[in-house]
């Protein structure tokens, strides 16, 4: 090969860069990504929070593994926490107490880990909502939505396995509920729990097994899916909010080097700092108050970590006596129905982008986001989903709602049962109407200008308020949205109308029959002329 003739090779940095590049070709990566442009918006930070919390979880979790013993071997607690001294518990519980009371910074790291885990799931949830309500899942990003969905499920699995590790009273009860749920599943339930627990509940194996899942298998999958997720962000380039100068063919924003390196890099430290601040000042999961697991006692007001709440709520809302004996076997509908409801709910969330793509039949790439009001039915569906989830979630605290607000438990449960069905319908209708009203308002402002508050008295004595027209940039903000109209049902080239076509047509009517089209230049001109007369 000819000798390399790079200009900047003098100095330590130059020499080192040259050394590195001749062995890694890294200059290519810098050239490719160094000035890559990212659009700016606060809502794009939600995904970043999720990513950074995962890094924090990895760091704090690695520290904890050096001290935690994932074993259910009974030991007598001899650590520093006096009230539990001499009490028999598993090595897992005992080592968790040691981390909390005998290792400097141990409690801090436990709390960093737990807070970051709660933040991880929360930020994934909010990020998903942002993606949903702005239509960021549309072509070409449907698959990345699926990957993100898998990450959401993995995050919940990580959370639950971690929650179960200390083998305290609460985590044991959580496992007992999982055991009871799985037992209730038809055909396979009994054997699945036996294999999971290594025999009967609680057995002596479950903590060790969950530990393998929690620190090895699940994190590996999370990592793989995060890499895939980010790879697609690079391939697709980030979406951007609509606005003047922003098109489907460009990305407007700031380059990675230096601005994003500073802002996103700094944001990692901000997230970590806030988590550390919470861990330093706010207690989370004080297992020493609960004591070791024992199948007999349980305290009132037990709660799962927040993200498992919706599943627990589903279990609580099922009416009594739902169990049948068919063909000599037990069908536990009080388990099967909630499990099905959860699976259908998750499946609906997973499938939504594909359903919408099928209904619209839109094969264009969409890199400009929708304002939620400009997709009224999608926004309404999202609001209905959020309401459904929220009711299930509230149900997980039915007992605390009853005690805190001094109402009957039965009243709370019955109300939530009704709300679970009625709530999403109301949310759908109200949200759709609000979105349409906002669209109409936009149209009104566009055609007639905005109110200036300036009152003018005309020569005839009439008072009128002066409306001022928007400038070209603000106007573009209000007219540049994606407009859809329902499909007309027409026979295909073979002269037939298939069931699928019928379904698609009626769905497209459901989505787009109430349609506020963007103002056109012609309409605008007419409105101006009208205003002058």
């Amino acid at each position: 090969m000819s000798t390399v003739s790079a200009p900047a090779q003098s100095g330590v940095v130059g020499k080192f860069s040259n050394y590195l590049d001749e062995r890694t070709s890294i200059s290519g990566a810098v050239k490719e990504f160094g000035r890559k442009v990212f659009p700016d918006h606060w809502s794009f930070l939600l995904g970043e929070v999720a990513l950074y919390s995962f890094v924090i979880i990895l760091l704090s979790g690695s520290f904890l593994t050096f001290f935690f013993q994932a074993s259910m071997t009974p030991v007598l607690y001899e650590g520093s926490y006096v009230p539990l001294k001499g009490i028999e518990m598993s090595a897992a519980m005992s080592s968790t107490l040691d981390i909390s009371f005998d290792i400097r910074g141990g409690l801090l790291m436990r709390q960093v880990h737990h807070w970051a885990a709660l933040l991880f799931v929360a930020s994934i949830g909010l990020h998903m909502l942002r993606v949903f309500f702005t239509g960021a899942f549309r072509k070409p990003r449907e698959l990345n939505w699926s990957i993100g969905f898998v990450l959401f499920v993995l995050a919940m699995a990580e959370g639950f396995t971690g929650y179960s590790l200390p083998d305290d009273l609460l985590s044991g009860n959580g496992l007992r509920i999982i055991d009871g749920m799985v037992l209730g599943l038809p055909v396979i339930g009994t054997w699945i729990t036996f294999l999971l627990f290594g025999g009967e509940f609680p057995g002596a194996d479950i903590v060790g097994r969950l530990y393998s899942l929690h620190i090895l298998l699940l994190p590996a999958f999370v990592l793989i899916f995060i890499v895939l997720h980010l790879m697609f962000v690079i391939i697709h380039k980030h979406t951007q909010y609509p606005g003047p100068g922003k098109t489907e063919e460009n990305v407007v924003g700031f380059p990675i080097l230096p601005v994003y390196a500073a802002k996103a890099g700094g944001f990692f430290f901000l997230v970590f700092g806030v988590v550390a601040l919470m861990a330093a000042t706010v207690t989370i999961n004080p297992i020493w108050n609960y004591g070791p697991y024992d199948p007999s006692p349980v305290s009132a007001g037990t709660q799962p970590d927040w993200y498992i709440g919706f599943a627990d709520g589903a279990l609580r809302l099922i009416p009594p006596h739902l169990e049948t004996y068919w063909f000599g076997y037990t069908w536990s509908w009080n388990i099967i129905i909630p499990v099905l409801i959860l699976l259908v709910f998750l499946a609906a969330a997973f499938a939504y982008p594909f359903v919408e793509a099928w209904v619209t039949g839109d094969k264009r790439e969409h890199h400009l986001l929708d304002r939620p009001r400009n997709a009224p039915v999608r926004t309404a569906i999202g609001a209905a989903g959020v309401t459904f989830y929220a009711v299930l979630w509230a149900a997980a605290s039915s007992d605390l709602i009853a005690t805190h607000f001094k109402v009957t438990m039965e009243g709370v449960i019955n109300t939530l049962q009704i709300l679970l069905i009625v709530g999403p319908i109301i949310a759908f209708i109200v949200t759709k109407r609000i979105a349409l009203a906002l669209q109409k308002k936009d149209r009104e402002i566009l055609l007639h200008g905005f109110e200036t508050g300036r009152i003018v008295r005309l020569p005839g004595g009439e008072f009128t308020e002066v409306h001022q027209q928007l400038d070209a940039y603000d106007r573009w903000q209000l007219v540049s949205y994606n407009d859809n109209a329902p499909i007309m049902l027409r026979p295909n080239p073979q002269g037939k109308i298939t069931g699928g076509m019928r379904m698609r047509a009626s769905l497209s009517r459901f989505f787009f029959e109430d349609r506020i089209a963007p103002v056109t230049q012609e309409e605008y001109k007419q409105a101006l002329e009208h205003a002058h007369h």
């Binding site: 380039k237 990305v251 700092g273």
Partner: protein, 353 residues
């Protein structure tokens, strides 16, 4: 698929992309382009820029100080044995040190990025995600060539053999997982029996001391485990307790309503024993409401009526709590007449047979 439903000519962005329900009006407004750039205060006022610079570097130095403080806190706020206060101080000061060192870096870097670094917006161009037609044609050709060269479609026996082998090879791995549960134990059998048997005394949880019938006053409740449970080997103890835990209560005899004489004989002088394991998903039904004779599961709020054979009166549970038949022995201690007559705890598939 119709290109567009209102039949108007569309402004279609790419070659021949199908817009589906999407509508683009022919006289839609056009993009005015990026608005004029507005300079920041730090661009116009050198003093403000200087101030921002000062804030940024001060924060970085403060971060160093906070890190040093965290190390100092680690050493000078040690955890003293049996002193919870020392744990609190250690966590607090160490945590605050770390938090402030991180926050200072974060705020400084973001402020640097926002106030001082060039803020001229940049533009990247997007390209369609799909590969170019040539690339795609070449990809198809590569597959065709390799199929040709390997005979994958032509040599069907080889191909089918490969597919079959690939399906079969993970099977041993699945079989291996059978070892997760003990080989010689039938779950169905385990779930149907508890430690209780004829003549076994009811004892207090957790001490394991027997209970005399005379010790129960009306309205009182005892957490009960079978005699001998405390002497079991450690790992068997919790398994046994998870099935055998019992709640013992005494009611006025007239408050108890029985479906049959036989069921009534399972109680003794108004003393009744019921499984404490919820028939819903197995939480301990730990809350006893003395006035109403109701038992409440704190996990999912199933309620059972003790005066009515523990029938479900509210909540997700489907079945009454199983009753443990009890009587007294010659010394007046409460004993079981037999094991439970049905499986305790959550329902399972093979429960009925």
């Amino acid at each position: 698929m119709a290109k567009n439903e209102n039949g108007k000519a569309d402004i279609v962005p790419a070659e021949s992309v199908v817009t589906g329900t999407g509508v683009v009006a022919p006289d839609a407004f056009t993009d005015p382009g990026l608005p004029p750039h507005r300079p920041r205060v730090t661009d116009l006022d050198p003093k403000a820029a200087k101030r921002a610079e000062r804030v940024v570097y001060t924060l970085f130095y403060l971060s160093i100080a906070a890190s040093v403080f965290a190390v100092y806190a680690y050493m000078f706020f040690p955890i003293e044995p049996e002193n919870v206060h020392s744990v609190r101080m250690n966590t607090l000061y160490l945590g605050l040190g770390i938090a402030f060192s991180l926050l200072a870096i974060g705020i400084a870097a973001v402020h640097w990025g926002k106030a001082l670094m060039a803020d001229k917006e940049a533009i990247d161009h997007r390209h369609p995600v799909r590969g170019t037609d040539e690339t795609r044609a070449r990809a198809v050709e590569i597959f065709r060539e390799s199929d040709e060269e390997s005979g994958f479609s032509r040599r069907t026996l080889i191909r089918n053999g490969l597919i079959g082998a690939l399906i079969a090879f993970p099977l041993p791995a699945i079989a291996l997982f059978r070892g997760l549960a003990p080989m010689d134990v039938d779950p169905n059998n385990e779930l149907k029996h508890t430690m209780w048997k004829k003549g076994l005394r009811l004892t207090r949880d957790p001490q394991g001391t027997p209970i005399k019938a005379s010790e129960l006053t009306i309205g009182s409740a005892f957490q009960v485990i079978p005699e001998g449970l405390v002497d079991l080997p450690e790992h068997e103890k919790l398994d046994a307790k998870a099935k055998a835990a019992v709640l013992l209560v005494r009611l006025k005899k007239e408050d108890l309503h029985w479906s049959s004489k036989e069921r009534e004989s399972w109680s003794y002088e108004g003393i009744v024993a019921y499984s404490k394991i919820c028939t819903h998903v197995g939480c301990p039904v730990a809350l006893y409401e003395q006035q109403t004779h109701h038992l409440l599961c704190p996990c999912h709020q199933s309620q059972f009526d003790i005066s009515n054979e523990c029938a479900v009166i509210f909540g997700p549970a489907a079945r009454p709590l199983p009753q443990l038949p009890i009587t007294v022995d010659s010394e007046g201690y409460l004993v079981a007449m037999s094991d439970f007559t049905e499986p305790v705890g959550p329902s399972f598939w093979e429960r009925a047979n």
